[in-house]
Amino acid sequence: MKPTLIFRAALVALAAVWFAASGTNAGTVTIVTSFPKELTQAYKTAFEQAHPDIKLEILNKNTIQGIAYVRELPVGQRPDIFWASAPDAFEVLAGLKLLENVAELANKAAPAKVGNYPINNPQGLYLGQALAGYGLMWNTRYLAAHKLPVPRQWSELVKPVYFGHLAMSSPSRSGTTHLTVETLLQGEGWDKGWTQLLQIAGNSAAITERSFGVPDGVNNGQFGIGLVIDFFGLAGKYSGFPVDFHYPDVTAVVPANIGLVAGGKNPAEARRFIAFSVSADGQALLLDPKISRLPILPPEAMPGKIPAGYPNAFEIAKRAKVRFDADLSESRYNVVSSLFDQTITFRHKDLQAATGAIRNAESALAKKPNAQAAALLKQARDLAFLPVVGVGLAGDKNFLALFSANKKEAAVNKQVTGLEDRWNAHAKDNYARAKALADQALGMIR
């Protein structure tokens, strides 16, 4: 082997492609998005047909890497448009002054609010482009094989029959999961909401790292039931998988957004794409079975386009019990994420074990009542399913301020991680004790 040969070949290849590389042409709009290819492809095709002089360059990055990518590029070299689901990503970009005002591009035919959630950012920094609700998705073959009933509400998921059959993601990983968790907390109240979350998580087979991990696992049958954003469930169903989807009463409908990046290469033509994406033509593209997202326009604004039986976001929002409070969500954003991770994600094995032991003892108790065991079991449930941070502390302004302070300050970081460490240790200890108590109760019954 002669490395010199390879090296020479490498140099030649390097030089050749270096010169062949060309800059971005004028008339090109670059879009950073976390949306899947079939969605972006549909928009690219339709838009380029309507505007033959403009080319769309789609750059798919997940939301987190998308933000990092945009902020590390210098002014004038940035992509033009940011297009993603999670509203918090746009809040981060807005905080970094990376978004331009696009209020005048909004479609006037769209209502101001869905439920009580504003469709477009009130400051005009980003626009709602599609609507999404949260719900339950299940694999029909899996449920049949394991003889499980179809759930309709979150509260049913805490039932013992579902132990080990559920899956969800974590609010720190996925903006959509954060919304689901926050919706549940607002709908049921802090303490009751956490109790429900802890039981659902205890019944879960996995807390997936990516939000797409949940629908993917339900589609291929690893999980029976998943907590997902609607289009994941609907797209699976319409693509022929044995899955179905349902909106529970405690749900919230919120927009996925599109915004203009400050310091992009081609803002004028980028604005035309944003206007197109919220126009009636652009909205109709959402109805493709493979995409299955809900338009921001009410059905009467899109006559004859909506297939029969297609969910109506505005009806669901009307029916929904939760009036989603975005300010409340914002104020405790990091606390919810951190508490979930420290007591659920990172302690999932222990929580599962405790839940399993409690469910075992419960079913034994149902067959053979025993007062003493019932008392032990109640203790076990309180230990396992009550949040380590009560409603009192969760409403405390100083406490919340700590979590939105700059973690680069060593002192702040020490305080926060100290708290997190205590939650983690506390949860671990609670779950171990709950398991011991439940096992003890089971022993008494037998």
Partner: protein
Amino acid sequence: MRPGAWLAGAAVLAFLLLFFVLPVARVFVTAFLDGDGSPTLGHLMTFFAQGLMRESFFNSLYVALMSALFAALIAVPLAYFTVRFEFRGAILIQTLGVLPLIMPPFVGAVAMQLMFGRSGSLNLLLNQYFGFTLPIMEGLNGVIFVEAIHYFPFILMNLTVALRNIDGAMEEAALNLGCRGWRLFWRVIFPLAAPGFVAGASLVFVKVFDDLGTPLVLGQTNLLAPQAYLRITQVGLEDPLGYVISVIMIVFSIAAMALAAQALKGRDYATLQKGGAGVQRRRLSGLGALAAYGWIGSVLLIVLSPHLGVLLLSFASVWSFSPLPDAYTLAHYATVFQDSSGMIRNTLLYCGLAAAIDVLLGVTVAYLILRTALPARQWLDWIATASLAVPGIVLAIGYLRLYKGMLVPGTEILVTSSWVMIMLAYAVRRLPYALRSCVAALQQLHASLEEVAETLGATKLRTIRRVVVPLMAGGILAGFVTSFITAAVELSATILLVSAESQAPMSYGIYLYMQSVAGRGPGAALGVLAIAVVALGTYFTHWVIERTDRPIASRTAAVRNWERL
């Protein structure tokens, strides 16, 4: 000391500084800065104060050790039987044995779940016929299982080369003295091949210690790499603790590699005669042959089942909660060929160049370490190896920050938007693989061969070119192949550095498809193509080497003949 050594050392150091140390330092400095920019050790202290971090550290250590152990259990018999015995299909087995390394991201995990998961083919069948299931993919053991079958080729490749390089006379001498079977293996062959084994096993250890994808896909968060990643990538939060964890992982990885180097130090593994022609391959007895074939067959079946899963998935229309897909289709391949052909070219280009750079640097560093007295030469090795522990996303952010706003000379293109950055990221991230192979190869080469060449009047450079490099060819090839095929499935840095779809490699395309329900099939199809392309690339490399090897072989023979005189 000759100026050549200084020059070579400086060149390697410059490369490492520009494309690895400085970009990464640019990011890691956050771990040691207070809010106002003054230096602090406060963040480091918070690491040690957290119970979860200590737990993660020991979990990582446990998983890495066990994975290395199981990987060795798979790899050592495969290597030993195919090299030292007359074995049908040895080449095939060794080629198949490399395949697990080329498991594209996401697709691999999906396929593993489809085969071994809770409702995977195996468990569905077990449940149907025997009424029980195996929790193979659960907990830390699941991680160990997947890591071991993913990374054992590191040991296989390095050990194979090392076994081939053993002087056949050693084995013959042992046999003549009555040493056979296990005793021959443990007392003579294995110790002589130790550099290759340690090179492979330490790679497996460090790789698993720093691996992120597998634990995350299996839902295991209480390991160091996931803990760092989860903190670095939380939306809108800059959390220095993530970088602290990364720094600690780097320090630990370097320490582990240094320990491995220490274990080999002070012993001499070099043999004068290179193996191959010298070794008499032995025959297996009837029962032994049966056991060997049986063992190898079942190992290959397990380690290749993910590939089978990907293949099935790429032809499946719907595959859900059943041992096999409902129906088959070619549509996914049509989709992929329609819009992803440029990606194949990009993958070949980037990975080929990156692997070439790696081999060049690897040979240089190996030579500097083992054959010169350049001060602090060991540091080159340690720095290069440290890149194993740097998460791809950190390296990519470092590039974007360090080279922010810089233009490619003579053009309007940003340095960070050019594909060269992707290629360099691959080269840096895969350098340790090539380096380990090259070091192991040179360790087994006796310095007297070079001394002879120099005594005969050859210059240092000529000696390296005509004697050292040809005799290291096996190790260099192993290094090139490992770098190439693992770069082909690199994702984390790729996602961040791709700035136009036209410059995207296949790994990015697979990621793109695997984001949606409708993309699973095309994603798997592209995965199959990636495996095929990389396998062909590997084969082609072998072929090229074989052709250029012929004169070398005759030269080696000449050296040997000359030795006998």
